[in-house]
């Protein structure tokens, strides 16, 4: 199979289920089903994942200083869509392939908003589709503006 391998492990599902407050027995034990958004955690296996500190590389978060906004930073997650072809089970390996989708722009309150899609197909070892995921990100154009108050 081509694509980024994502070994689906029972312990990883347990940790993910705990983090989302899902204590149902379906996500514990050896023969567990992954929660519906679990494929996002395939980022753990992406060697180039930008949102994880990596040994020997500069991390953009705070240390002795406050950190720096990375190139293309300031983006937010606008939408997320999943299509399930079958449940994801512990013990299998999925293979993730990501391609860019559509991009468009909208006029926001403080300037143009640039939207872009990424479509990731998760297939099993036989090449059958398991989960199709579509991410929509939004980046405001131009300089940073004061954010919404809490």
């Amino acid at each position: 199979m081509t694509g980024q391998p994502f070994p689906v492990e029972a312990g990883h599902i347990m940790m993910f289920a705990r983090a989302i407050g899902d204590e149902t027995p379906a996500h514990r034990g050896e023969t567990v089903l992954a929660p519906p958004t679990f494929t996002m955690a395939s980022a753990q296996y992406d060697p180039d994942h930008r949102l994880r500190p990596r040994q020997g590389e500069e991390w953009f978060g705070s240390g002795s200083g406050p950190g720096v906004m990375p190139e293309g930073g300031g983006g937010l997650h606008a939408e997320q869509h999943f299509e399930y072809h079958r449940p994801v089970r512990a013990g299998e390996t999925l293979y993730a392939t990501t391609v860019p989708g559509r991009s468009w722009e909208k006029q926001g309150r403080t300037g143009r908003l640039l939207f872009s899609e990424r479509v990731t197909e998760y297939r099993d070892a036989a090449g059958e589709p398991v989960v199709s995921a579509r991410t929509v990100a939004v980046v405001p154009e131009g300089p940073a503006t004061p954010k919404d108050a809490r």
Binding site: A19, G21, P35, Q44, G67, Q80, P87, R150
Partner: protein, 140 residues
């Protein structure tokens, strides 16, 4: 676990409190499990001084994942066919979130009956943080 077409009615709703007084450590817990260590969510100093927010806020995907529980507790993980959301507003530490799922329609398809849901998660002020739709297979 799977729901039968007789066991579900259009207009029926389920409501679930997803989290009360969201803690920063819960956000860190999600960062560790998901692999999304974006300092916007895990690093108060970065979020304030560099990104210009009042502080860290939850990953949209944490809110979506918690919202999914109102569906999976109802129809079962294995019955879910689609789940999609829009992120409407940030979720902050201290927030209490409540999700509601509503059966909008039940469709007969060649593969059997399918229920279509709307989902909506609001914070303690009643502001929408996530809205979306989902579909689930039903037992005939």
């Amino acid at each position: 676990m799977s729901l039968s077409a007789d066991g579900i009615k259009v207009g029926e709703t389920r409501e679930s409190v997803l989290v009360e007084d969201l803690k920063r450590t819960r956000i860190v817990q999600y960062a560790g499990a998901s692999g999304d260590y974006n300092p916007l969510h895990t690093d108060e100093r970065f979020a304030i001084e560099v990104a210009g927010y009042p502080g860290v806020f939850a990953h949209g995907m944490l809110t979506m994942a918690m919202t999914g529980r109102v569906l999976t507790d109802w129809v079962g993980t294995e019955a879910l066919l689609t789940f999609g959301v829009r992120f409407k507003a940030q979720v902050w530490p201290g927030d209490t979130l409540t999700a509601t799922a509503t059966v909008e329609s039940v469709e007969d398809t060649p593969a059997g009956p399918v229920a279509h849901f709307s989902v909506r998660t609001v914070n303690q002020n009643g502001a929408e943080v996530v809205t979306g739709i989902a579909a689930a297979r039903l037992e005939p």
